[in-house]
């Protein structure tokens, strides 16, 4: 049984390790290990295309995660303990958003926005001289729409599991609704909110498929990696991939620790 588990963990981590290993190869050939060097990391970090794609990815991940965390937390607060039609509608919306394949929503958003922009652009251009187009806005909007749903699920889960009597007690003792929120509710859900932000950030930073459709003329890091792989794997791509993996692993482990049951600062 234990041997089996070791084998499965090997299956999960071996491919990742191979990329990490080959990224330290000194040779030009990406498919064999020749010596040891960190040259490819230096090259990747000095490649202006890589750095620009990285910068775009960071901007999109940061802003989409901030907005998703805000809107998602607000929605989760409203939905907890709520009944009736509006609650049912939102439950369905969150389900659809999480379940629908990235490729379908990416394509749908692409054709919807292109059609809409074609309709309104002549009018907007005559008024302001600007034109609407796909780019940072659509990337942030689409990633945020998806990750907001994750935040709703996470924060609502935490809200539903804590003792409502604490809120009632606080109200009975004369605390204002805002006071109750800041001193009772918020400390309890803060870890879930932070974990939601980290997951949202990681998702956006790693997403290829939605970005592929709505990026317009922008290039995110996964789009850069995908188009490079099409031309052939290089040690430089391995170095970039390793750095991306390490960055997301770090964020994810922090998120997972925050999400462990019983991890809340409201205790004691």
């Amino acid at each position: 049984m234990r041997l089996y588990a070791v084998a499965v963990y090997g299956f999960l981590y071996l491919p990742i390790s191979i990329i990490a290993l080959f990224s330290f190869s000194a040779g030009r050939n990406a498919s064999s290990m020749q010596g040891f060097s960190t040259e490819w990391y230096a090259r990747a970090l000095n490649n202006p295309f890589v750095m620009e794609a990285l910068w775009t990815s960071l901007k999109v991940a940061f802003f989409s995660a901030i907005l998703a965390t805000l809107a998602g937390t607000m929605a989760a607060l409203a939905l907890t303990g709520m009944k009736g039609r509006l609650r049912a509608i939102f439950d369905v919306l969150v389900q659809i958003a999480v379940m629908i394949p990235g490729i379908v929503i990416g394509i749908a958003t692409l054709i919807a926005l292109v059609t809409l922009f074609d309709l309104v652009n002549p009018w907007i251009e005559s008024l302001t001289g600007w034109r609407l187009s796909l780019g940072l806005g659509s990337l942030i909007g689409l990633h945020g729409m998806f990750t907001m749903s994750l935040v709703v699920l996470l924060v609502r889960g935490r809200l539903e599991s804590f003792d409502r009597a604490q809120i009632e007690a606080s109200n009975d003792l004369g605390a204002s609704p805002l006071g109750t929120f800041m001193q009772v509710t918020f400390p309890q859900i803060a870890p879930a909110i932070l974990a939601g932000f980290l997951l949202a950030f990681t998702f956006s930073f790693d997403d290829f498929i939605m970005a592929f459709f709505v990026a317009g003329s922008e290039t995110t890091l996964p789009i850069y990696i995908f188009s490079s792989i099409r031309r052939g794997v290089t040690p430089e791509i391995n170095a970039i991939g390793t750095m991306v993996m390490v960055a997301s692993l770090t964020l994810l482990i922090v998120a997972q620790i925050l999400l462990r049951p019983g991890h809340s600062r409201g205790k004691g």
Binding site: Y4, V8, A75, P101, T109, A112, T202, V244, M245
Partner: protein
């Protein structure tokens, strides 16, 4: 008080509501409308109302066939690999190691599927496993750019998603049932078949549904490991929208894909009701 509460709730829900309206409902409505439209000769969409695009779906038969054979196969393979691991984690590992081992399973799922998939180019490509097989005298075997490579990629990509719901179901299982069975002299294999397996079915079903649904919309893994030979509906969609720019037909393909997924979800909901599970058992995060 009640009025004020309702107003506060509406206010709190407004940003999320607008967001869903603009970037979930509006795009999906556009796809639905376009699927009844016609192809614009210069590419894109021309208004109309016709069922022509749906009648034309068999033109992409191969993509649907590949998806609907490899997605179930991938789901079953992931289930067979995931179940023993989930069982081990839920019933055989001490509390001390459990958390860390679980995190190690979940974490890969949230990291870039793009990078995780292209890693298999090394393992399945000429210098990887095939070279090893040749060295031990099994002859020249092509692995990369075959359905097998895509299958390995999808099992690898979605295994964590299968392990977790099964683990949650097994973890909740009342261990005293197993003890009672063994006190009464039931052999372990029988108590597994009669107690453990039925009680873990909600997790099995949830995991299978999640994996199956995500697989039907897969694009990256066939694109990277199938080398253009093994393509899914997702690859057909990319081709239709970005290369041939046939938006009306592409929309019909997208709607067909969504319908297939809805059927799977409906089936799942029906079966799950029989086992009395709830959807919240996913516990993915």
């Amino acid at each position: 008080m009640a009025m004020a509460q309702t107003r506060a709730r509406t206010l709190l829900l407004t940003p999320a509501g607008l967001w869903y309206a603009a970037l979930l409902l509006f795009p999906l409505a556009v796809v639905l409308i376009f699927s009844f439209g016609e192809r614009n000769p210069i590419g894109g969409y021309a208004p109309g109302f016709t069922l022509e695009q749906y009648a034309n779906l068999p033109a992409r038969f191969a993509a649907f066939r590949n998806t609907l054979t490899l997605a179930p196969l991938g789901t079953i393979a992931a289930l067979l690999i995931a179940y023993p691991l989930a069982y081990y984690l839920a019933l055989r590992v001490s509390v001390r190691w459990k958390t860390m081992l679980l995190i190690l399973v979940i974490v890969p799922f949230w990291t870039s599927i793009l990078i995780r998939s292209y890693a298999w180019i090394y393992l399945l490509g000429g210098n990887g496993i095939p070279a090893f097989l040749e060295a031990i005298g099994l002859g020249d075997i092509q692995l990369i750019n075959t359905p097998f490579a895509v299958l390995v990629g999808i099992v690898y990509g979605y295994l964590p998603l299968m392990v977790f719901p099964i683990y949650v179901a097994l973890e909740k299982l009342d261990k005293s049932l197993l003890e009672a069975a063994s006190d009464l002299g039931t052999p372990p294999w029988r108590s597994f078949l009669q107690i453990t397996l039925p009680l873990s079915m909600p997790g099995v079903l949830t995991g299978s549904m999640l994996v199956f649904i995500l697989l039907t919309g897969e694009f990256l893994i066939p694109a990277i490991l199938g080398g253009g030979k093994v393509f899914f509906v997702g690859n057909a969609l990319v081709d239709l929208f970005l290369q041939s720019r046939n938006w009306a037909f592409g929309s019909a393909v997208a709607v067909a894909l969504i319908v297939i997924m809805l059927i799977v979800v409906a089936l799942y909901t029906r079966v799950v009701k029989r086992f009395g599970a709830t959807r919240d058992d996913v516990g993915l995060m």
